[in-house]
Symmetry: C2
Subunit: 305 residues, 2 copies
């Protein structure tokens, strides 16, 4: 398996200093890489925060405020804005993201990057995982934020890459929260009622507590004027300190890696099967034997370099 990205070189060049050019190039490479590409993990773990929730919940505005908060506190922050559908997102999303980028502008140590990866949920999640690994390899950030555009199947698999999954909603989206019970809320580590200056915020927070059915912090923010964002940031940092201290982090990352490895293995099998179909000269045959041939070839051609 040929690595698309020379991570060692990226790290070396990045450390030599001189802007984000090398990092940007490496991120473009993983964006376009096939779904079985695996960038090896390197460097000490950085806190990866996934920001997800329905469109219109103000995720980008909230992320912008986090950028400002971390920046003011002297921390360095990277943001991956993942858009699984296409570069052509709705104007609302785009507008929010522009505001987020304005928060980043002119701040040293802040890196904001859109990841316009297409394909299956697995492919998008794979590209995001590789991007996160590149950012970690830089050893230059205190926090890495993955921001999704919505809360669908692809977004769930992307947000699940984070050490801390933040589900953001707003007052009045309670029904949607109920309907979502089987989805993102189940993997959320923290719930945020944004636009909490609107009526019904306390009620939505209560509904969320009931819906989630387990002990998860529920916070309230009003990202537009920054209300509650410092508390959120403190809660995030506290969780990271806890995860690092109590030994849960290696366990959490190992479990995640195992399920990501499964997705990669499936992608590799699909690729081997497609290649096998192209070159096959056999007529119809025993399908179980064909399955065996595909599995054998997949196992033999996979190289752990």
């Amino acid at each position: 398996l040929s690595a698309t990205v020379d991570v060692a070189e990226l790290i070396a060049r990045h450390r030599e200093g001189g802007g984000w050019a090398h990092l940007a190039r490496a991120l473009t490479a993983v964006e376009n890489a096939p779904p079985w590409e695996v960038v090896p993990a390197s460097g000490p773990p950085t806190h990866v925060v996934g920001v997800t929730g329905p469109p219109g919940a103000g995720k980008s505005t909230l992320t912008g405020r986090l950028i400002e908060g971390y920046g003011d506190a002297g921390a360095r922050i990277a943001v991956l804005a993942v858009d699984p559908s296409s570069p052509l997102t709705g104007g609302a999303v785009l507008g929010d993201r522009i505001r987020m980028e304005e928060s980043a502008q002119g701040r040293e140590g802040v890196y904001v990057r859109s990841l316009a990866s297409r394909g299956s949920a697995g492919a998008v999640a794979g590209a995001t995982r590789n991007a996160v690994r590149l950012l970690e390899a830089c050893e230059d950030f205190d926090v890495i934020v993955i921001e999704t555009v919505g809360a669908g199947q692809t977004e769930i698999s992307v947000a699940s890459l984070a050490d801390t999954v933040l589900f953001v909603t707003v007052p009045g989206l309670g029904d949607g929260v109920q309907a979502d019970k089987a989805g993102i809320i189940e993997v959320a580590d923290m719930l945020v009622v944004n636009k909490a200056d609107r009526p019904g915020a306390a009620q939505t927070a209560r509904d969320l507590r009931v819906a989630v059915g387990r002990a998860v912090p529920v916070l309230q923010t009003a990202a537009l004027d920054g209300q509650g964002v410092d508390v959120l940031r403190e809660a995030l940092d506290a969780r990271w300190t806890e995860l690092s201290a109590d030994g849960r982090l290696p366990e959490l990352r190992a479990a995640r890696e195992a399920s990501e490895a499964a997705v990669v293995a499936e992608a590799w099998v699909r690729r081997c099967a497609e290649r096998a179909r192209d070159v096959t000269e056999e007529p119809a045959g025993d399908m179980r034997a064909t399955v065996q041939r595909i599995l054998r070839e997949a196992a033999e051609t996979w190289r752990t370099t």
Copy 2:
């Protein structure tokens, strides 16, 4: 890999005569079987016709008329009504299916069966493929019809199991047809404008011809009063005769089997990965090595018995 169904016994018992009980039991077994289960193909090939199209196109009514037509002509027909969502389908679909079952009632040599398989598109298609193989193994049918409820991703993968894919639509669903260009129409072998007694049928037929962009028969039927159904039946039989005579059938089935084998291989890898995760005692590690371990185990544990 232990076969869920003893096909040899099924065939033997079925041939001994005495109703559909053994077949019904075998179909229930494949309905509930895991997605990597493969019922081996046996018996001479039977014409498998896939009937698909948007809800409301009258697929069940048309299938009912085909049952009557084939029955009157002395042919034996099996119908698999595949409902990938759940046993709780909308009332309209249910009503149509009841009418279809009325067409079958009291007719000897007609077998109608619902397949309420859940899960991914691959799992539903796998269960349907196994069900078709059981029906073929009976060597008791001249035609096997797979009817889907809609024309989504799962339905496309189900319909693609057929030797002849019939796309059914109605006048005025032209816009939907345009939108669908990337979907089911691309795999259709025959297009049917049903409810052709309604205004705009000829225009819809012309639109379909343009949309499909290749030489595919476009027929018009009014299934409710049986209009055009005989012509459709003749077209189906003619295609089957042609496929059998010109040597395309083995090629067609081999290609289908290859892509189904890929889906089975993926399902098996996923299963091995999940099992590996349960028993793993390693901490986080090299993800590429984990992928290798999953692939090796999948190849080694797959048995072609």
